[in-house]
């Protein structure tokens, strides 16, 4: 389930604030979603390959340089499309489960 919405979540969080890979997993964790770096790193790699995010290396004073991800114009369009799809799906799921709930009552 989480895997299906992870691209939308990642694009949304990156749109809010430029982030590096581990930072993104921490931000997801803050939202209550326990996502491993084993899921996030390959996803970021795919988003970069598809041109949905741009990257830049930022020097760190306390470690190696970090690769920060920012949303591109194509990424913004993809995020909007994914958000719309998510609304359709979540509305359909809510309607179906509400009906089931009213039948149970």
């Amino acid at each position: 389930m989480i895997r299906a919405v992870l691209p939308l979540l990642a694009l949304t969080l990156i749109a809010e604030k430029e982030s590096y890979g581990y930072q993104l997993t921490e931000r997801l964790s803050t939202l209550g979603l326990e996502v491993t770096t084993g899921l996030v790193y390959p996803l970021l790699s795919r988003l970069e390959r598809d041109g949905l995010v741009s990257t830049r290396m930022v020097a760190s004073t306390n470690g190696p340089p970090r690769k920060y991800f920012a949303l591109t114009t194509a990424g913004e369009s993809a995020r909007a499309a994914a958000k719309e799809q998510w609304h359709l799906v979540s509305t359909a799921v809510r309607d179906a489960t509400d009906k089931e709930h009213s039948r149970d009552d």
């Binding site: 770096t37 790699s45 930022v58």
Partner: protein
């Protein structure tokens, strides 16, 4: 957003043992990635992961566990890409097969030598995977020898070739990459 506004977590200092752990993990991942990414993509991915691990503030074992097993992580990178041959895995399998063949051949020869030596003076001839083996033990000479000509090269050569083709999953080369 300026670079000064980007706050990063502290990176730990990795011990020699931790760096070895990371190297071993990335080596195993490299083997698995060979089956899903091109050489350039693989190199870039490993370089990025090495940097990410170096900057990960958690303990090395925790950071590696969070990435998951190398084979699982490689599948995440693969997604819908067609699988590719794993030539380096094939080379390792071929080398191990050749080594196993040599060990088996040597044990067979030494076994024959022990048998003829216990019945000395005696000599014996046998065949091990199409290669003739001779063992002899006389008061003035003891030894083993191989009597076949071309089989001595062809048999291990065929074993190495077949194990390389199977180990590298060479049949995947017929599938076209999607990108």
């Amino acid at each position: 957003m300026t670079e000064h506004s980007l706050r990063a977590a502290d990176s730990p200092i990795r011990s020699f043992r931790d760096r070895l752990r990371i190297d071993w993990y990335l080596t195993r991942l490299d083997w698995h990635l060979e089956g899903v990414l091109t050489g350039r993509e693989r190199k870039a991915t490993l370089c990025e992961l090495r940097q990410a691990l170096a900057g990960d503030p958690r303990e090395t074992t925790v950071a590696l566990a969070d990435l998951g097993a190398p084979s699982t992580l490689a599948r995440q990178y693969a997604e819908e890409s067609p699988l590719r041959p794993q030539w380096s895995v094939g080379a390792v399998v071929a080398a191990l097969t050749l080594f196993a063949y040599w060990v088996a051949f040597l044990l067979f020869s030494l076994g024959m030598l022990a048998a003829v030596d216990s019945n000395a003076p005696a000599e014996a001839n046998a065949t091990f995977l199409f290669v003739g083996v001779e063992a002899f033990s006389f008061p003035d000479r003891v030894g083993i020898g191989w009597t076949s000509s071309w089989n001595w090269l062809v048999v291990p050569g065929v074993l190495v070739l077949v194990s390389f083709l199977l180990g590298s999953r060479s049949w995947r080369i017929t599938k076209k990459p999607s990108h």
